[in-house]
Structures are given as structure tokens and as C-alpha cells.
Symmetry: C2
Subunit: 330 residues, 2 copies
């Protein structure tokens, strides 16, 4: 009698679990961000719409790729390319300009299934720095290439090239001129404008693999070949199937100091923290208005956390969840 009962209970339990599993199984999840710089309430209606449209287009393409079974690493590269091509974001076309009025782009990508990664810093001639970072990952034994050498490698790899007139939009030229007028003494060490922005994407694909990609034009008016956290694996970008995939945006120096993206993974791996707790603790280490992160874990849980006024972000998953926002409120 007891044996039959147990068997029945077991069968019931199994079928319940199976049903739950079918219902609740997370096939895929994706989060993107378009940077944490600026206060969206101060933006024009048109620019806010541009941002939302940009987020939507990138998100929809990512969802489409994930739904048909593409790999997380393909998805994050492709989605970030779309945002690099969109002049509404500080990455690729439409990036901010450095002190001399030139563009210098940083990007990195990481495949959580094998910890392969690639990154580029201060490049200026390859149309999509994120694809250059991926070429570094797949076609070299290196992780980080910088400057002229990185551009040369990209040209030799057959990647699409672009010139200054492509990257430097009228809007950012105007922003730079405004910045320049307010900073006539460029020899002094002055605090940079709180003008940063980045784009990023993290994804969990149908196989359960994670990946992260991040790309940026850096800080308005940056000098001396300053490189932020975006091309620094473990700081602004990290992915490891055992824990999570993370992309950050904010004051890059703080992300480097706290190796922020890898710290979220380390909290999960070593302290058993869940993704939300780990991300909350990591952001709590940043100074006020320091930045934010997007993240996804192996179970498809997604997190968006920031301590800035705004952070353009969007997320979606195979269970039909879809959100597009410029800040917590809107």
C-alpha cells in the first residue's frame, strides 16, 4: 500500500515537474542598454523617441535571432552592431568626440560557453568595433588590441571600414563645440562632463549559453588615450555560463577599480548570491550617479540595475516579457 502510494506520488510529482518545466522553461532572454549618461527628462521629445525606436529595433532583432535558435554570441554581436549604426547612441556612428575633436572607439565581446573573449581600444577606422572585437577573439591568440595596430588588423581581416564623416555626426560635433567652449583651458586637469554613454547586450540562448557585448565612444573630451571599462574584460563586460553575462555603462574608472562585471559573477560563484543580489551589491559600490549594469543568468533571469538618473534599456524573453525604458519612470 505504501509502495503504491509512493509510486503514485512520484508519478504525480514527475508529471507536475514536467508540466512546470514545459510551462516555465526559459528558452531565451535578452537585455540591452543604450547608456546611463544624461537625464532623459531634459531630452527633446524627438530624441527620446529616437532612443526608444533604437532600443526597440535592436531588441526585436535580438529576439528574432534567439527565437530561431541563434547562438548568444552571434546575437550580442549583431544587436550591438545595430546600436553602433544608430546615431542616437554613443557607440560607432554618433559617438562623442575626444578633446581633439576626434573619435576613439572601444568594444569587447565574451562567449560564456568557453570564456573566449576579444576587445579593442581606441580604434577609429572600422565601422563596427564590436565585430572587430569578435575578430580579435576568433582570429588571434590575443584578447586586447589597441589603436593603430587594432585598426590595421581589422582592415586586414576584411571588416567594413568607415571614415570620420561617417562616425562624427552633426549632433555630436555641436555637443563637442559646446563642451570645448566651456573648457578653454585644456591643459588643466578638469573634471570631465558627466557625458558618457555606452551600448551593450547580454543574452541567454536556447542552448543555455550566455554572452555579453559592449561598445562605446567613451567620454566627451577625453584625452591622453584614456580607455574606460568597455574593452576591459571583467570590468565593463563579462560572460561565464556558470554564473552570468554582464554589460556595464557609467564611470569606467569605477568599473575597472571594482572589476564590476566579474565581481557580479564572483559573488554568484563563490558566495552563492543570486543575480539580483549580486548586481545590487555591485552597483552599491559605485559613487552616486556612477552607472548601471544589465545582466542575465543561466536560468534566464534578467537584471537591470543603475544608480544614475536614467539608463536606456530594454529586455525580452521567450515567456513574452518585453520592456523598453529610458529611466525607471519612463
Amino acid at each position: 500500500m505504501i509502495g503504491r502510494c509512493s509510486l503514485l506520488l512520484l508519478l504525480f510529482a514527475c508529471s507536475t515537474l514536467a508540466a512546470q518545466s514545459n510551462d516555465e522553461e526559459m528558452k531565451y532572454a535578452i537585455v540591452i542598454h543604450g547608456g546611463a549618461g544624461g537625464d532623459p527628462s531634459g531630452w527633446s521629445v524627438e530624441y527620446r523617441q529616437q532612443r526608444r525606436d533604437g532600443l526597440q529595433a535592436a531588441l526585436e532583432r535580438g529576439v528574432e535571432m534567439l527565437a530561431r535558435g541563434d547562438s548568444a554570441v552571434d546575437v550580442v554581436e549583431h544587436v550591438v552592431r545595430i546600436m553602433e549604426d544608430d546615431p542616437a547612441f554613443n557607440a560607432g556612428r554618433g559617438c562623442v568626440l575626444n578633446e581633439a575633436g576626434n573619435h576613439e572607439l572601444d568594444a569587447s565581446i565574451m562567449d560564456g560557453s568557453n570564456l573566449q573573449c576579444g576587445a579593442v581600444g581606441s580604434v577609429s577606422r572600422i565601422k563596427n568595433p564590436i565585430s572587430l572585437a569578435r575578430k580579435v577573439m576568433t582570429d588571434t591568440r590575443h584578447v586586447l588590441l589597441i589603436g593603430e595596430g587594432a585598426d590595421q588588423f581589422g582592415e586586414g581581416s576584411g571588416l567594413e571600414i568607415a571614415d570620420a564623416s561617417y562616425f562624427q555626426t552633426d549632433r555630436q560635433r555641436k555637443n563637442w563645440e559646446d563642451w570645448k567652449q566651456r573648457h578653454t583651458d585644456v591643459s588643466a586637469l578638469q573634471p570631465e562632463e558627466n557625458y558618457f554613454g555606452t551600448v551593450g547586450c547580454v543574452a541567454r540562448d536556447q542552448r543555455g549559453d550566455l554572452a555579453a557585448a559592449t561598445s562605446t565612444g567613451g567620454l566627451m573630451g577625453k584625452r591622453w588615450g584614456r580607455v574606460g571599462d568597455s574593452p576591459i574584460i571583467g570590468a565593463g563586460n563579462y560572460a561565464d555560463n556558470r554564473t552570468c553575462a554582464v554589460s556595464g555603462t557609467g564611470i569606467g574608472e569605477e568599473f575597472i577599480r571594482h572589476h564590476l562585471a566579474a565581481d557580479i559573477a564572483a559573488q554568484m560563484r563563490y558566495a552563492g548570491a543570486d543575480l539580483q543580489t549580486a548586481a545590487d551589491r555591485a552597483i552599491a559600490r559605485l559613487p552616486a550617479d556612477g552607472g548601471g549594469v544589465i545582466a542575465v543568468d543561466q536560468a534566464g533571469n534578467t537584471v537591470v540595475q543603475f544608480n544614475t538618473v536614467g539608463m536606456s534599456h530594454a529586455y525580452a524573453d521567450s515567456q513574452g516579457q518585453q520592456v523598453i525604458k529610458l529611466s525607471r519612470q519612463e
Copy 2:
């Protein structure tokens, strides 16, 4: 009676602890490395002696500074300067040359008492890259400056400059010519020679503060502006008073992928691992012949761990311990 017994026991316990504390109190500890590249048994007697002499001179200066109460961050900068100036090591003068026969130097420094850090990548005109990294830490809001911009910043900061004839020694020019002859087709993606080396120093000062400094000429024959782990905070260098200070040497890409220096700190912080266990686990993640680390924790425990044939290293502390070695055996 019980009360008196307890009091006596308590007094005895206290005096024992106090005596132990006086005996065993660690005033300071220092570890240095001169790189994990090459097999010391294949080196000439003269070069082995040069290495040992270089390690001894750097170590003795570090001990002298720590004994008189200097700060850990001053000590690690100064000790690494000595090793940069010594042509027996791949950092500063005597560095390896890149594919084009030029020198490109990387360095970073971190102060564990406040998590301040500075780093430079691909610089070529400042005599001591570690001091340039420290200037980035103290005189800018940035962490990482690269290339021409970083050199310009250093020149403007009044740091000593040096030209190619200073950095490029006859020995390394000869090594590069040998390398070049064996690599005539530079357009192909060939595995680099297993020719890397770095110098580093970690210290715990009398106040209990930790610091780490790392400097390198990178990989022989490197191209495309390749940057390794030495200027990447969290990869080849990290210091945090709450856990440890770490400097690494080896295949930089693997150190970046595993954010190795910060991972040792994270294991201590989140998993409660001791320094030796954390370092052992971290090195176990590297491929064979991947490299090594030196580390010190807040209690002054020191660790030297590597999976290469050799790693020039030395350590000393206020309890009179002093070791200088080129590998485990000699």
C-alpha cells in the same frame, strides 16, 4: 574557586596571546617576481647571476624601505623602478621588442588601502612606466591611458624620458633578430614564441596596507597593438586591503579571461579561502606553462605559485625570512 580558576585561565590565555602577538606580529612582507618566461636551466651562468643579483638588489631596497616605515604603494613603485632599470628583466630597459622591432611598455599600480589605481599601455618614451602609471593614479581621474596620449601625459608631468637607445639593449635586439629570422612570414597568424616576462612587486607595510605593481615589455614579436594583462587592473595586478595584493606574469590573455588577480581576492572575500588556496586554484585554471603569481595578504602571508618551468622570484619579511630563486629548484 571556579571564579578564581577562570580568572587565572583568562590571564594565562591573555598573556600567551600577547606573547605570541609580540613574537609573531608581522611588521611587513614583500614578494617580487622577474617573470615566468624561459627555462633558467638553459640560461648562461652569467645571466642566471644577473637575474639573482637583480632580484636581490630590488628586494633589499624594498626591505629597507618597509623597515623604515614607508608605505606599501611607495615601496612597490620604487622596487619595480629598480627592476625596470635592470636590463636583465623584460620591463623598461631591456624589454623585448614587438614585430616591427620597437618597444611598447605596459604597467599598472594599485593601492589596496583605497582601491586607487593607475595603468598605462603601449607607452615608449617614459623611462619608468610604473611611475607613469602612478601619475595616472594620483594626477588624473582616469585609470588607464594608452599609447601616444599616455606618453604625452607623462612628458607633461615632468617624468624622466628616454629614447629607443636606452630601452633597446643589444641582447634584446639580438633576440629579436633571431625571432625575426624564424618568423619570415609575419602576415600569418603564428603562435608567438613562449617569450614573455614581467616584473612585479607586492608588499604589506607596517600599517597593514597592501599594494601591487606590475610592469612589462610584453611578448616578443607582438603585433597590432596587443596589450596583455599587466596594465589590466584585476587581471595582472590587484590590491585590496580586505583581501590581498597580487602581481601576475605569464600568458596575459589567460590572466584577462580569468581576471586572475581579482579572482584570488574574490575567493578570499566571498568564499573565505586563504591566500594559498585561492592562488593554487587560480593557477590551476591556467593552461600548462601559463604563468604564475606572487601575493601577500593582510596578515603578511606570502605566496609564490606558478605552473611554468621557472619564475624568478624573491621574498622577505620582518621575521627574517629571505628567499631568492629562479625556479622551484634553484
